[in-house]
Symmetry: C2
Subunit: 249 residues, 2 copies
């Protein structure tokens, strides 16, 4: 049983030593899944569910139950054998490990179609990620409010990010501008970047970049389409029908 403590009395919410070591050791893949569990659990809370077993939760999250238990074990042992997990307890522990006890101010750079969508996206503020700054090069956009926030000129990134304590920068610019924008965000002290531009960003070691590349996602799907189509053709040649039934045994 890890040390318990009151929460929310500090904005920075430092982790206990035991948790600190755990956080260091959590595999990247497990972190991504913890976020998914958290979302599923939040839904459970809304439905009035108070207790859940690893089997139920793993099904809802679309993973193997052993994996789920191992993932949860990375953040501590908060289940009750023979019963399951207390939903609210689990939620609060995952939130703590993911650093969601503190708000993370977000800046969106590039207010095109995607930037608009991101600025208006309701999922962010509701989950502790308020969008507090928008930037674009287009002078005509500067001052125009999008999703309730006026657009700033890209030249002002450094000062605006500093004064609004931006901790996450989202790049939604055209590809050629992405690296320059990234550099500016970094020099403004932003250490976490979510990149939607189809460009490989070069950043210093102390900056974390995650990329969302729609074209790559599509191409991965395309690969699977091709492989499937090809296997089907192959199977047909080998006497197996499209429904998996052997037509020429």
């Amino acid at each position: 049983m890890a040390s318990q403590r009151g929460e929310g009395e500090l904005t920075t919410t430092p982790l206990e030593p035991a948790d600190r070591e755990r956080a260091r050791a959590i595999p990247e893949a497990a972190v991504a899944r913890l976020a998914v569990y958290l979302r599923v659990l939040s839904g459970m809370v809304d439905q009035g569910v108070t207790t859940i077993s690893s089997e139920e939760l793993s099904q809802a999250a679309g993973v193997n139950s052993a994996k789920l238990r191992k993932d949860l074990s990375y953040i501590g042992s908060y289940g009750t054998r023979g019963v399951g997990y207390d939903v609210e307890v689990l939620v609060s522990h995952i939130e703590r490990i993911l650093g969601l006890t503190r708000k993370h101010s977000v800046a969106v750079v590039g207010i095109g179609n995607l930037g608009h969508a991101l600025a208006n996206y309701g999922g962010f503020p509701g989950r502790g990620f308020p969008v507090t700054a928008l930037f674009d090069v287009d002078e005509d956009l500067v001052g125009v409010p999008v999703g309730g926030i006026p657009v700033n000129h890209i030249e002002d990134i450094t000062t605006v990010c500093a004064e609004r304590e931006v901790s996450i920068g989202v790049i939604a610019t055209p590809p050629p501008a992405a690296q320059a924008v990234c550099d500016r965000l970094v020099s403004a002290g932003v250490q976490c970047i979510l990149n939607f531009a189809p460009v490989v960003l070069q950043v210093p070691d102390n900056v974390e970049v995650r990329k969302v590349d729609l074209a790559v996602e599509m191409q991965i799907l395309s690969f699977h389409v091709a492989r499937r189509a090809d296997e089907a053709a192959n199977d047909l040649v080998n006497g197996i029908g499209v429904d998996g039934m052997v037509i020429r045994p």
Copy 2:
């Protein structure tokens, strides 16, 4: 050296037996990277580069050169020792393996902020992913052209997807609608789905789903912010300055 053949004489472009086996064996992670290499290489072609070494390409793609060579070896041996790779040859082989020799018609469901952005996104058609159908529940949207394509009512998914030979469905609906939309796409014969809704979709085994979850991405970044902040606090306690310099040796 794998068998060479003319390309483009068939819309379905079946793979040679040797390639077929390779495609089956390519690790998922490598497929994602191949898509990145392809994008970088396309940029090289535009710059007039004809030959590139694994070292140069790996740097541009942000990976280790050994990994790059291994990834390329999955699709065959098309390099020249002592010289490097012919850019155009590499492009055409990656395209073939990823199934990009054929167009993949895309349907976007849910024409909200994100759906608009996706429908207008220029990156898709340019890379062989023409958006050919849009759907929404909102009667007021039906018939309105977005990005040049009129919106259809969601009730017509099955027929429209079938007649336009949609092979990839993109879900950009609110979370509660996602599973129902997914089921409809599947019953319309769509086997590949890109899901932007923060929901775990349940699909049959023969359907491939990839998810893009912005909230999860943010939370992963949040985790890193927290870990970093915590390490910094820890280091400070242990007498190491924020710039990594030991202030209390």
